[in-house]
């Protein structure tokens, strides 16, 4: 795992980007996924096919299982001891629940941005360098380069380049969130999971993060949970509507928002419930 960062070939995304939508490769293929918290059946027979270099939005009312679902994609959900799952999630063709699939490996290619910005109580530099260091990068020059590239990638470089050694807690909430995105880019992931990344941010920071998502989708596949319909409509290519742990509808975003095939989807996006 340690050499991965420096030797990883250019993203396949570069090749697939210009291909027609239908030909895009699947990143995740979710098959009959069920998940229980104890006896609480939180995800029911979820089937989804998530494509490379697309932004997939997950929408649905509170408590419908959106966070649970994306935390399952990098197996963070297993940190809750009472969780049981069955079904298959294939990540690039390999079942992530396989006994010999190491979560550390999975989480190195699938980055995650949380709802609340959660920088480490370390300097801005050390926050970004944390991931690469964990994966064995020691060379200061390489680390410097990763830090700069990641911060540029998260559109925060200009704001912090003169204060890399200051504590990350001195940044504003919006800056902290972009720092967390940068930290996630630093491990050179292939997928980025975002759980309501803008819900703690003001409109301007939200806009910045949304623009960033548009930018990032060139190189990454992004799955984003949001409570904000406009946001889903603005940033995503596909949208999945969850209700009570089930996927009610999964389709092109413009279809979902203009002409949903399920009555419940229509009710939800027109604000009639949830």
């Amino acid at each position: 795992m340690d050499t991965k960062l420096t030797t990883k070939p250019a993203k396949e995304g570069a090749k697939t980007m210009n291909q027609p939508v239908a030909a895009r490769q699947s990143v995740y293929r979710v098959n009959d996924l069920n998940l229980w918290y104890g006896d609480d059946h939180a995800l029911k027979d979820v089937n989804l096919d998530i494509k490379q270099n697309e932004v997939t939005a997950i929408i649905g009312p509170s408590g419908c299982g959106k966070s649970t679902f994306i935390k399952t994609l990098n197996r963070m959900v297993e940190l809750v001891p009472i969780v049981r799952t069955n079904g298959v999630i294939e990540y690039h063709g390999r079942n992530i629940f396989d006994k010999d699939y190491e979560v550390e490996e999975l989480r190195t290619s699938v980055g995650m941005v949380f709802q609340q910005p959660n920088p480490f109580p370390k300097s801005i530099y050390d926050n970004i360098a944390y991931g690469p260091r964990v994966h064995g990068v020691k060379n200061k020059k390489i680390l410097d380069e990763i830090v700069e590239r990641s911060l540029r990638g998260a559109a925060i470089w200009e704001e912090v380049k003169d204060r890399l050694n200051e504590n990350a807690y001195g940044l504003s909430g919006g800056q902290q969130q972009r720092l967390c995105i940068a930290r996630c880019l630093a491990i050179e992931p292939d997928v980025i999971l975002m759980d309501e990344p803008t819900s703690a941010l003001d409109p301007i920071s939200t806009l910045k993060v949304e623009e960033l998502v548009q930018e990032l989708k060139k190189d990454y596949s992004i799955i984003i949970v949001t409570h904000n319909m406009q946001q889903a409509a603005r940033v995503s290519d596909k949208t999945a509507f969850f209700l009570n742990g089930e996927v009610v509808e999964f389709d092109q975003t413009d279809r979902i928002f203009s002409n949903p095939s399920d009555k419940r989807t229509e009710d939800y996006i027109s604000g009639r419930f949830g």
Partner: protein, 302 residues
């Protein structure tokens, strides 16, 4: 849309007149309790002040460089605390790494690795109970186990191990609290980057909890340094002319030396004891200030 209908006037449960009346009464109670608490504080401070004053009055005259550098002697004007001072310092140097490794290790295991369950909470309750066990009991344990069974005899290492054992419960509990205070979000951030549990613990959780951990250790050590009973149990020497030369040397410690002097009838030795107390107190106050400084300087704000 029609104007909202006028709500029927709701009955008020808080009656302004009654409130006004009760306020003066409540303020009287307020003042009385304030005075009681002040008396409580003053009582402690005054007693402490008198004690300090007494000790300094009796001991200050005996304090000198010679006092710190000489061995105890039958002649008060030549007596010093050098062996005891060195014994205490060596004990401290031995105890700190022991309780750091064992205490923090146990705390990390309990907080980060152990499955939360009945077994774990049983262990935790008993660790807290051990913190309340009288120190002389640890002395007895040290005597049977380290001095006799392990065959260390009444040596520095036996004393250090006994004191370390005695301090461990406090260190474990305070380290656990410091580790628990690290927000879950920090662990998640690290794990989500593909770090292993150990990397997360070592690079994120431990650094973030270190100020709390160190504070706990310093307080535990300063308590251990003031202990007499367990050291008497393991057979620390009452009268010894030289500082310990290794971990298997005989040793004595400040509280024992002080105890020894106070048990002599001559007034001069009482003065020496007071001087010894001053030295011990300076060490303890320094350690406690260090703990406070570390807590203020490094405590993390999340």
């Amino acid at each position: 849309m029609a104007l909202p209908e006028k709500q029927p006037v709701q009955k008020k449960f808080i009656d302004p007149v009654a409130v006004k009346k009760s306020i003066s009464q409540r303020l009287v109670v307020n003042n009385i309790t304030k005075i009681i608490f002040l008396i409580g504080l003053l009582f402690g401070l005054v007693v402490l002040g008198i004690l300090l004053f007494g000790v300094v009055r009796d001991g200050a005259a005996w304090l000198s460089l010679d006092f710190l550098q000489n061995a105890p002697s039958r002649r008060p004007d030549r007596a010093g605390i050098y062996p005891a001072l060195m014994g205490s310092i060596f004990l401290m140097l031995l105890i700190i790494p022991m309780i750091f490794i064992l205490g923090v290790g146990a705390a990390i295991y309990l907080e980060e690795y152990a499955k939360k369950g009945r077994m774990t909470s049983f262990i935790e309750v008993n660790i807290s109970n051990l913190a309340g066990v009288p120190s002389i009991v640890f002395g007895l344990l040290g005597l049977t186990f380290f001095v006799r069974n392990m065959g260390f005899g009444s040596t520095l290492i036996a004393g250090a191990l006994t004191l370390a054992l005695m301090s461990l419960p406090v260190v474990i509990v305070s380290s656990q609290e410091a580790i628990r205070a690290v927000p879950q979000a920090m662990r998640h951030a690290s794990l989500a980057l593909g770090a292993s549990k150990w990397q997360t613990t070592f690079k994120v959780v431990l650094p973030a909890s270190l100020p709390g951990v160190i504070t706990g250790i310093i307080l535990a050590v300063s308590r251990a340094i003031g202990e007499t009973a367990p050291l008497i149990m393991v057979g620390a020497a009452i009268f010894i002319a030289r500082a310990p030369e290794g971990i298997f040397s005989e040793f004595t410690a400040l509280p024992i030396q002080i105890y020894n002097w106070t048990s002599r009838p001559q007034a001069d030795f009482q003065g020496l004891a007071a001087a010894g107390i001053i030295v011990l107190m300076v060490i303890l106050l320094t350690m406690n200030s260090l703990a406070i400084w570390i807590r203020n300087r490094f405590s993390k704000r999340y």
